[in-house]
Amino acid sequence: MSEFRWVGKAFPRIDGRDKATGVAKYVTDRVFPNMLWGAVLRSRYPHALIKGIYTSRAEASQGVVAVLTHKDVPGLNAFGIINQDQPVLCKDKVRYLGDSVALVLAESKECAYNALDLIEVDYEPLPVVSDMEDALQTDVKVHEKGNIIEHVRITKGDVEKGFREADLIVEETYYTPRQMHTFLETEGGVATIDEDGNITVFAGSQYPNRDIIQIARSLNYPMEKIRVIAHYIGGGFGGKDEITAQILLALGTLKTGRPVKIVWNREESLIAGQKRLPMKITLKTGVTKDGKLLANKARIIADNGPYTCLGSAIMKLAVEHASGPYYVPHTDLEGFSVYTNNCIGSAFRGFGATQATFAIECQLDLISKKLGIDPLELRLKNALRNHQSANLGHIPSPSVGIAETLETLKNHDLWKNKGYYLKTDRPYLKRGIGLACSHQGCGLGSFFPDYGAATIILLPGGKFTLKIGCPDIGQGNGTAFVMIASEVLCCNPEDIELEIGDTRSTPDSGSTSASRTTYTGGRAIIEAGNKMKANLFAEASRMLGVPPDSLELRPHCVAVKDSDLKVTYAEIAERLSKENRFLECYSRFDWPTADLEFKEALGLPHFIYSYISEMALVEVNVLTGEVSVLKAVVSPDAGRIINRQGLEGQAEGGTVMGMGYALMEEIRQVDGQYMNKDLSTYIIPTAQDAPEIETVPVEKYEVSGPFGAKGIGEAVCNPITPAVINAIKNALGISITKIPATPEDIYFMAKKEFDLLRS
């Protein structure tokens, strides 16, 4: 029997029923009496000077209450987590087609959108920076200070020495696309203001506490008078980490005194929303003839679009992950993040590690092919072990499970009996198996304060309230929190009432991002829970007249060890109430950090990583280039599993998302214009495209984690992309260095080999 009552079990989502039946209301579903609709006027050009904005016709239009421009922004007309370089409402320049130029507030959605056409803006178009290499050279500046947002270079050992000692050097350049989160609920929310000037913003947000700072700064408004509630949210995946509509919502309600709702439509979300940023990654890798990695040199450029958002941090994570979860003695890793007039690049599940994983894992397959070494053995040979120095020269926390995840795949039937799975009964169908590894730094890394906090309150009746800030954006951390609390407090999950994602009532627990919340929140909950436990012992000891150290928790009660003598939580709560007291326990938890810090690359490195290996079986139709991913086997190491069902959900969702990235997803831009603008041309996988997915976890105990857990929300998105690409290469013997690899691309690449109609 497991030592745990809840931890490690498959537990259904606490909000599953409400979401499935529509009882749960997303933030953008909220409606208030007397509510106005806001519509945002977007830029007409990808790059232009604004010579004048004329709003009088729009203001006179039916149902319009106000038209706001830069003049109406009371505080700093700029926001951004890293650099405040994005205007709330553009004043003299637009830098991409998604830029906000004006906000119309009207009695109905129709009136608001109709009025957009009546706003006249004088633009003077500027040359467009659309290519990231170009951005480094051109005289055209997206921002005054130039087009380089950040440049980092981190070395370990002596890379040239590594290349000299290498028997084989492989050099290749890889390209990754701009991917959209395609959350169910687009960006937006509702804001209200009361007669005392208290503003409440219900918004799709991954960090409501940070939103308050940004809203207050732009509105020049006291933070105490702003509340952000981020619950329920229809998906985030990183795309709601930076501000989207929050400041405009607050501004709208402040200016009109009425509730204001803004919901970006799908096309707006595509054009204006943040995306996974495209990268060009050149790798030069040196290896001995028996497959030992000696040196890896990377040059990475990231197309950040017009504003920093989290882009420069993402570029740095690509640098950190550019040599994969392997021991490489000599590395030289360089990255640039540059401004362009394309769509904004920002956080997306994987946060730069995804792009880096694609490059290094394709590179490893190339090496395996050139050396004639089995791709799994090659990876196993180089897999990072506990206490070895990682990519940037630091020693990660000793929960390095990459080798175990590879062993798991090695022992799987799909790998052992490849021959069987690779057979097809049609001359035009070719099958291949590919695999890839990845890792993902959990948390915010060095330098940045990274903490979590939770409050637990004993309620009358013996139940508990659990309060925690970092929102549940749909990934199920709320369920994990409740399971952890139930475990510590020895009660049923139904006995925990969760409050989450509300800046007024829940303690700041950091952002929901960076594979961090189950770990951080979990630790804070355990510590708050332990305080609660100590308090319960103290009360029970008083009530039962026994010393606290003779007590233990049993379901819903404190009992004397080896005895039937006990007092229930309900009885303790009742007693406290009579004495005019209550129990509330708060605890904060701070992340451990690595033994190294880079002044010139703040945030790097991470200390704790999740590890993962995945393999895919694909079938390619060489007549058309179509790829069917038939099976995926994923072996994640997320430390101890908290919720088995949650882990599998992440592994499956991440696999499908990464598969879409490999095969079909891309926002194509030419000269800052969008070639695809809606979901009929931006293609994501459907259930029909999803493979059979098997999750076989490895649980490498993380000493600092809640019950030994690490994070997993992002790593699951990384290895499947190169695994699928490597499988296609395996099937066809072709080379692929650019994703998405569409049927058309694959068809023309394969045609030389397999021209069935000519042979």
């Binding site: 049609r426 069917s628 029909q688």
Partner: protein, 283 residues
């Protein structure tokens, strides 16, 4: 966003015909029309909602034909015993349309009148030599579907006409058929290219009879590839022959390049899809 319009809900075909005669735009499942209206590409003042008209929703048979009311949905075609027995090629086509929701809402009539070159029920119907029946207050006329289709988004339907039914010769039990659609993903995909093939086949002699071949999404309209049909009839369909015939398919299309695919890829796909279909039907 939808603009305001007048909605007419007729209780029978005569009322519906009167409404179109007065200039109302027909609405069937709305899966094409409403999308366009929401995008602001169309803003009809008057709309006649056909969806209540039982007389246009039936699948019937006579001695030789299956008669499909224009309001028959793709889902109806997939489920009906008559179509499964006599028009398996059409069933295959309708099964690839959109998603279950779209198949249960979108109609054959809408698919045809919308006249997209990528409409998935159309290549099967054209390959089967289907006819359409058009009605107006002044009477009824019938024409071959292939002639009815005049260009992307264009048909020979007059503004006062409704498409009321589609008449298709029953396939013979020994006839083989395949609808092969290539999309950007496995469902909810708009065809990049597609082919509908049907013929009688004698596995002994490898000779084929009564062939029908039509390509979708590779020209302004779906049309029968009569020359390919002739080749199919002439040759003994061994491996060599099906390769030769399939290789000629590129000559019978006139594709465009768009966000989904290049013209060159589409051209090559005519050959590939035809080859795959012939392989599946003869090997």
């Amino acid at each position: 966003m939808l603009k305001a319009f007048e909605l007419i809900r007729p209780s029978n075909l005569a009322e519906a015909l009167a409404a179109v005669a007065s200039g109302a735009t027909p609405l069937a499942g709305g899966t094409d029309l409403l999308v366009r209206m929401k995008k602001g590409m169309l803003a009809p003042k008057k709309i006649v909602d056909l969806s209540g008209l039982k007389e246009l929703s039936e699948i019937k048979e006579d001695e030789e034909n299956i008669i499909l009311g224009s309001l028959v949905t793709h889902g109806d075609v997939v489920d009906s015993e008559l179509t499964n027995n006599y028009l398996p090629l059409l069933v295959q086509g309708c099964r690839t349309v959109g998603s279950p929701q779209i198949r249960n809402t979108g109609t054959l009539g809408g698919n045809i009148v919308n006249a997209s070159p990528a409409a998935d029920s159309v290549p099967p119907l054209v390959a089967l030599g289907a006819k359409v029946v058009l009605s107006s207050v002044n009477g009824e006329r019938e024409m071959k579907l292939q002639e009815f289709l005049a260009g992307p988004g264009k048909t020979l339907k007059r503004p006062d006409e409704l498409l009321t039914s589609i008449v298709v010769k029953k396939m013979k039990p020994e006839e083989r058929c395949l609808y092969r659609k290539l999309g950007q993903r496995k469902s909810l995909a708009i065809s990049i290219a597609s082919v509908a093939v049907k013929f009688g086949f004698d596995p002994e002699t490898k000779k084929c009879s009564n062939p029908g071949v039509a390509f979708g999404a590779v020209g302004p309209v779906v049309r029968r590839a009569v020359e390919l049909e002739r080749l199919l009839e002439q040759k003994k369909l061994d491996q060599q022959a099906i390769k030769e015939i399939a290789s000629k398919a590129r000559e019978f299309c006139d594709p465009i390049s768009d966000i989904r695919a290049s013209a060159e890829y589409r051209r090559e796909m005519c050959c590939s899809l035809l080859y795959e279909a012939l392989y599946e039907l003869t090997c």
